[in-house]
Amino acid sequence: MTTPTPKPTVATVWLDGCSGCHMSLMDLDERLITLAGLVEVLHSPVVDQKQFPQQVDLTLVEGAVSSEEDLHKALIIRARSKLVVALGDCAVTGNVPAMRNYFDRTELFARAYVENAQEPPTPEERQVVLPVVGVPPLRPHATALHEVIKVDMFLPGCPPPADAIWYVLTEILAGRTPATTTVSRFGK
């Protein structure tokens, strides 16, 4: 009796994005069942395993790199993945999370936690309300994934359509390089 060939392993990660790319992945609908037969999903927002696995064949990354935690995760993803795909406009360009980049972080925090607070804090309270404990520090800019790690493939789209994700996955599994701009584009 021969040992069955191990299935390729896949991880999906959600950094600074709206989860829309993962929703689009869910929109594969019944193809998810086919996919489950083709690959082993080791880590994902929809999988219980919380730690990023030691070794993965393919990682899909949604979202921009916005906080120190995102950067930390990105570096781990790169070190442990054979192939990294930037999934969607936030990972590919920065997109909406990067719209904060026109302002510095002080302005941003003032807007979010002081000006827009229902009961504006007094200047003395201001230091207290700024979230500094238990949350990762925000980086000066939210950036595209390839600005911090090497990315092997880019699938733009906001979100990339399910058909585009399916095409990219099946092409990669067949050992081919997908022509991603034929199936999606920035803002699609």
């Binding site: 909406v96 026109y102 302002f103 950036t143 991603t180």
Partner: protein, 243 residues
Amino acid sequence: MTTSIDVGSESLTLRIDDKDVSCRKGDTVLQVARENGIDIPTLCYMEGLSIWGGCRLCMVEIAGSPKLQAACATVCTEGMNISTHSPRLENYRRMIVELLLAERNHVCSVCVSNGHCELQAMAVKLGIDHVRFPYRFPHLEVDNSHDRMRMDHNRCILCSRCVRVCAEVEGAHTKDIKGRGVLAAIIHDLDQNWGESETCTSCGKCVNICPTGALTHRGTAVGEMTKKTTFLPYLTLMREAQP
């Protein structure tokens, strides 16, 4: 203003992409290529407006010349041998569009012109799936002072089509460009708010001619802004038909 330079009706023969073509003396490389079904990408060129030569997407190789030439601004000469597509040209064209995307804030997903944008379509055409240059993220204004139209400097690529249509077709010359390099920007009159302009006739030609979401009608949401450029060849034809 016509897009060819009229120096008589003498005809010339030349080669574009290994195809023998003929043209009238004074025709530009871009004109002749398009007449012969050869596609050269452009963003600042607009038939019916003066030639600007700013976007550099129409750069072509001419045998015997080490420099690339802008096809829109190069007049054909007898025996010219032109290549419109080569790995070198494709590479430069991709770089140009990537630099345009990195220079200002082109956030397609939330842009009123999403799906109807010439810059976005050009990125697709050139197979651009990401931008290799760091984004600049400049802090730019949106001029919302006009009661019907809006100028969003975040989406402007400074092609100057609005400046030219305003000056050359409408005859108002409300718009112009101030500054140099990355600090350059479209202005109204003496760098005033658009809504306070005394020369703007509110004709809306600039909105329709703008390739991106920089000039739009107010009240449009994401992806709702479509442009109609058909008025320009019509007006040009009418003007040329006048005695």
